[in-house]
Point group: C3
Chain length 461, copies 3
């Protein structure tokens, strides 16, 4: 983090040989912030404005001219004006001929207009070289110099040289330019700052649906059933007991959904005998949001750990345990240690701890800066091998936890299986199919297919 | 991370076409380390030194000359000499005319000299182009090639071309140059490596003051009061019980102090009817260290969670619970489950868990690499919406926890309110003002003001 | 993260002025993926292939020629062919004279061939300028545009200009080039993607050995001893009780091993009276993997925390506590609170919590993106001062935990000391030596030695 606050930085006109002059059309917030930063980095700045009177808000080293005059003074013109005012540029078309126009505009909604703002600008000023840039940067970030969010500046344009000039400016402002190709990419770039976690939408939607389902399922079994059958009020179970059933169930299901598409893809490749066929669209999309699915699963797993660890502090649990102890004391008997119980209890706790520990490791390696410092072999090792190990531990944790109740009829209230039994379906399927795929008779052809071999070759070099 | 250890890397003179020659004045630690790295990256290096005898410590591919001779052989001269020896350069002024001199020196104290070392150098050798660089890099990091700390090299200078040359060298050494503007920025750059968490000073100082206050407050209520009144010795409360009161109190107060300046700023903007007036200085500073305040709050919250979770392991708690159980057993009665109690206990635990979970999420998104991969809309969504939700959960957690004691006179020992009641003041104020600000009659003008609208316009484009 | 999926990005031939033409030999997976990406970024691409028929898999904007023809059309030729087929290039030597050949090949094993692939290529086509690059990038990452692992591209070569051309291409593909020097570095670069956490091998091996030793040690004391002496079956201790002894022991030993080499190095420097002598090789290697040792220690500490926090949920612990309570109730007596016990229990818990908290802080600051945003002074402050404080807290935690048992004969079963006593040896040595080194009579000369002073100077400027 650049902690030298920029407002204290040297803003001097004594810089002996200036960089080139940059022209900015529009003296709004963003135009002024950009001018300030550009001057700081050694550029000369001229403003093009309707009223050429000097405002106190404009950096003192910048000059203000009419649009036509200002355009003459620089080869790069930054259009810090809203799209609806672009029309006023058409009379200036001649002055702007051959200039590099930088479109920095954003919209208010995704796909607000039929064409992107940058393409619209190219349509209005056909002689200029349009480059899209800076739309992901906030005026506030430029002003304060504190860049907590991204320093990335997406740049696109049809003229490579113009793009290069803009990317050089971006670089000298200590931001990271990212070349996104031709101007037609402007649409994507303009939509980018309007996105709100697009990759997270499906995982969060899915977990909301599953949460709702399991909430009512557990409510029926744990609150309504005892109320109807025994007239006991366990409504306070909603706060922790039911939440602590939903969390592990969702964590396990979502974790297994991370590995299901890989298993499906392998099966499809084996069946087709080639890797050169596109997967169905839903599978592609699913594979792209595996990381997010895994992180949502980790969030549920963490909540499960917290909910579980507070168990002995809950007044209900204290009341129940002291009740049991008192009744034993009153009956004047001391129970023997049930060895099976001790083994089961310790095993499922140990399996859960190890599973959660590996899960956290997976989460840490998916942090951008960590995953950026490993090579592909290491990344695959962690995400695939450690990932499956996590799934095995967590599934085993659930199996051992519920082991003794599977065959007990008392766990089928109203003929419904316990909720955690439902959670075991997907992970068990994934693990069984993966186990089958490991056998050499399937693993060998699959490896060859992934290296480019085809059962019925359609393409040969 | 570049894990190819540089000392095993090719250090060959066979590189067919060398980059330019770089001259280094001074054969000390840093000079030698830099020479080593420069040769590795294809530069030719000559040393300027008083004694031209070859030392075994100097990289074998480098040549050593007298200062004047060495200066002739390169256009860039790195001054790896301490400031107090700069005088010897004045006789060389003619040889150094027009050369790029790179000042890499650091001081021992912040603002040790009236002018920065680089400006002092410019004063001694007026004909040269001075560039400040490399002072944030350690010789050790250059030697081992293991760069655990920053790769950032702050560069400043009045001559843009000279600066560009130095930045190119920085880049070829696999470091990231950051242009900081004119040479007058050298002062900031020279102070930078002497800083010790400058942004953290206020949050840590504040939390120390608050910790001390609440420590003695709790000591009086929980240790001295029972000792004076009931002659009971609870001095061991210091280790955990009191710590576990201080931590949540500080977490809540500091978290609310993160959101207080935003609420204040909104109120000021509404009152003034414009956003084009500077906030008072203390408010600006406060807003700049919000992230650090939040992270200190998170640290206290984490400690609170750990302290709470070990509760059932503490021998005092075990003794108290078993004492209660035994006395019930001896009185031959079993308590009924107190439903209100069960609800309250489970609710405040659940609220605390959810609040802490959101708090951890906030902490993760403030990691540089994570915050770098979200756009502004997402960053603001997380830090503002999720942040307020965290504050609501944590405040509710504290309210529910203490709910039943608010009106009980036994909780006012020596007429002093319980400590957690004091902690509720600031968060409640923040939440109430924020709640008021959400109403459309205030939210609408505020939004317009933030978009640039002014009640009494002083400036128009 | 660039979340604009590249397959939706503009892949247009309308880009008005193209960048230079790049030739790719070989139409395999990687060649095609690279071509796709290059075209996207504005390059013209020609393929050199044996069969010049257009395949549907080749990007439509690329042209396919014979090898000789394709080579003529570009100055940069990317050799996307496996090493064993390099021979076919010797007849083309004339066509390739003076061209930049980019070797992107990888091997299947570390040090598979006597010379690196790039040097072998230089041997076959002596007239060309060979540059090694792109071997760390996966075809899949180029295709999908989702770069979860590293964006770093290691580049090396003897011709600086050729290297620069390749690095420019790397940069325009939005990857980060890292200059690794002369072509002889190709060996390291080719081994890099085959590495699997090389820095982690020693710490993990060491912790496996220690885990095995302490597992059997604890097994003998806690399971076999009671079985032999009292015929009691505590085999279920393996799952949690023994694991929770091993974890803290390993965490403490490994943490102290992080600080032992620093203490050794200081002693050696003091003894030798100079810092200009190389340390023994094992010490150098040890110092380079301190970060990894510390993180493994943190992993064990985290497991210890989880294992400890589930204690009150274990059915064995519940059984034991309720047994104690019942027997007290039946004997009709209530125990007094043992103040010493309360103090000891609360102190070791508090020390453990604070130690673990500092340990987590150390772990967070070792995240690449965090350590990258601090300066050297801050980095050293955290890793050295906070690190020693962590070690002090954790050692004190263990000492207080076991304090009362040190002199009790019952803790020496079969004359063996308790396992945690063994774990205290190394940390206590480190802390004692460090404490001695802090004394001014040793600290002053050490500081001077580290600033370059020598007791018997062998080298003078």
């Amino acid at each position: 983090m650049n902690r030298v606050p920029s407002n204290k930085m040297a803003l001097e006109s004594t810089t002996s040989n200036k960089r080139e002059t940059v022209c900015i059309f529009g003296t709004g917030d963003f135009g002024r912030a950009l001018a300030h930063k550009l001057i700081q980095c050694g550029y000369a700045v001229v403003f093009g404005s309707r009223s050429t009177q000097l405002s106190s808000l404009i950096p003192k080293d910048a000059e203000v001219f009419s649009h036509a005059e200002a355009a003459q003074k620089a080869s790069i013109i930054i259009i810090a004006i809203q799209r609806q005012h672009y029309n006023f540029l058409s009379p200036l078309a001649e002055n702007l001929h051959g200039k590099v126009l930088v479109d920095i505009s954003n919209n208010l909604k995704i796909n607000q207009y039929p064409e992107s703002n940058a393409e619209y600008l190219a349509h209005i000023v056909p002689g200029a070289k349009i480059v899209k840039a800076f739309n992901t940067v906030s005026a506030w970030a430029l002003q304060t110099g504190i860049v907590d969010a991204s320093r990335q500046v997406f740049v696109c344009g049809n003229d490579t040289e113009a793009k290069q000039m803009v990317m050089d400016i971006v670089r000298s402002l200590c931001l990271s330019p990212l070349d996104q190709g031709a101007l037609s990419a402007a649409r994507e770039i303009e939509n980018y700052p309007l996105q709100l976690f697009p990759m997270w939408k499906f995982p969060i939607f899915l977990s909301l649906v599953l949460t709702t389902f399991f909430f009512f399922y557990c409510l029926i079994l744990d609150v309504i059933y005892p109320y109807v059958n025994d007239n006991k009020d366990f409504s306070f179970f909603i706060a922790i007991s039911i939440a602590n059933q939903i969390c592990p169930i969702l964590a396990l299901i979502l974790l297994s959904l991370v590995y299901l598409p890989g298993v499906l893809a392998a099966t499809i490749q084996l069946y087709r005998g080639t890797k050169y066929c596109r997967f169905p669209d839903w599978l592609d999309k699913w594979m792209l949001c595996r990381k997010q699915l895994g992180l949502v699963a980790l969030a549920f797993a963490s909540l499960h750990v917290l909910y579980t660890l507070v168990t002995p502090i809950r007044s209900f649990i204290r009341w129940r345990i002291s009740g049991q102890t008192i009744s034993q004391a009153l009956n004047n008997k001391t129970e023997e240690l049930d060895m099976t119980n001790a083994w089961l209890s310790d095993s499922y706790l140990a399996l859960g701890i190890l599973g959660f520990f590996l899960f956290i490791l997976l989460g840490i390696t998916s942090l951008p800066s960590v995953s950026n410092s490993v090579n592909w072999r290491e990344f695959r090792f962690v995400q695939s091998n450690l990932g499956y190990l996590t799934l095995v531990f967590c599934t085993a944790h659930t199996l051992v936890y519920g082991g003794k109740w599977f065959l007990s009829p008392s766990s089928y209230r109203w003929y419904l299986p316990n909720a955690y039994m439902l959670s075991l379906i997907v992970p068990c399927i994934v693990l069984v199919v993966k186990f089958v795929l490991i056998f050499p008779c399937l693993d060998k052809p699959l490896t060859r297919i992934r290296q480019g071999w085809e059962r019925k070759p359609q393409y040969s070099e």
